[in-house]
Symmetry: C2
Subunit: 191 residues, 2 copies
Amino acid sequence: MAQNPARRAALTDAAIDVLADQGARGLTFRAVDLRAGVPAGTASNYFANRDDLLHQTARHIHHRLTPDPVIIGELLRAPRDRALVTALMHDLVRRIDAERSGYLAMLELRLEATRRPEVRAQLTATVREQLEANIAYHLDEGFPGDRETVVTLYLAMTGLLVEHLTLPDVLGTEALPALVDTLVARTVPEA
Amino acid sequence: MAQNPARRAALTDAAIDVLADQGARGLTFRAVDLRAGVPAGTASNYFANRDDLLHQTARHIHHRLTPDPVIIGELLRAPRDRALVTALMHDLVRRIDAERSGYLAMLELRLEATRRPEVRAQLTATVREQLEANIAYHLDEGFPGDRETVVTLYLAMTGLLVEHLTLPDVLGTEALPALVDTLVARTVPEA
């Protein structure tokens, strides 16, 4: 396996764009090489097979969707109340809007997981790890609510993001900030 | 356009299976003819073009996901309280489990909507109409809560169904009924 980290990142970035633009069926080594503008055969030096490419792409998406520590550090100076949870959810929507391709690629990977058991096993581990980390963070930091609060908010935000990214006019882009406020107000205790 | 309604339904059923199995990129007239076991060229007699096929398939999915009036009639003898909303959400999960391909095909259509403005416009109208009908029904029937209650529950259930159908082991199939109870309890007032 070739080991140039910048090139590996460029290939997984290209894989995200191919997934978002063409769907999982369009994701081949050849399409990734083309998209990344590298010589034919490059991707096959970095990934053992297509499932390995899908797996590394999923991890790369999660990495790209990670919060900016500076923004989060600023936000976390505030008390651990519902208003802070609301601010964190607005930051999440902002990040997803900036990483639209990444989130759409993740939805493509979820659908590919229904067809390929290996993809499903690896993606399940990645998503579960992320959800458990969110729950532990919420409880350890003393945010209001319990485990079910985090799961309920996670599912409502998932629904919101799927709707917003795929059919934005159903909820209306202009109504989105108020809707985020509502989801938090309806699912998270005040303090 | 050919007008045999049973054959049209068989073709859109086949389109749903192709979407769920192969993704939007796999959906061609030829793939639909093959899947439906009809002579090559049949689908092109029933649909003006691929977007028309996608649109009619979306409407057919919504039709297949419609509640059974007998089951709903039974449920609706109960008072309009949170317990009844919970029972209706359990019925929704049951229907989606029985129409797994239909719901996965709908997710494929949502992703296709991000690539094709015509698909997006038509799917937006279908989904918005459905959501507005749900809201009106909830309020007219005197179920507890307001418009925001229905939207919050709709988004949380969307998140639950996407997670359950694509990566069922993240939440755990055995935990699903209790999770539906939790989502309703956390978003819908008691009565």
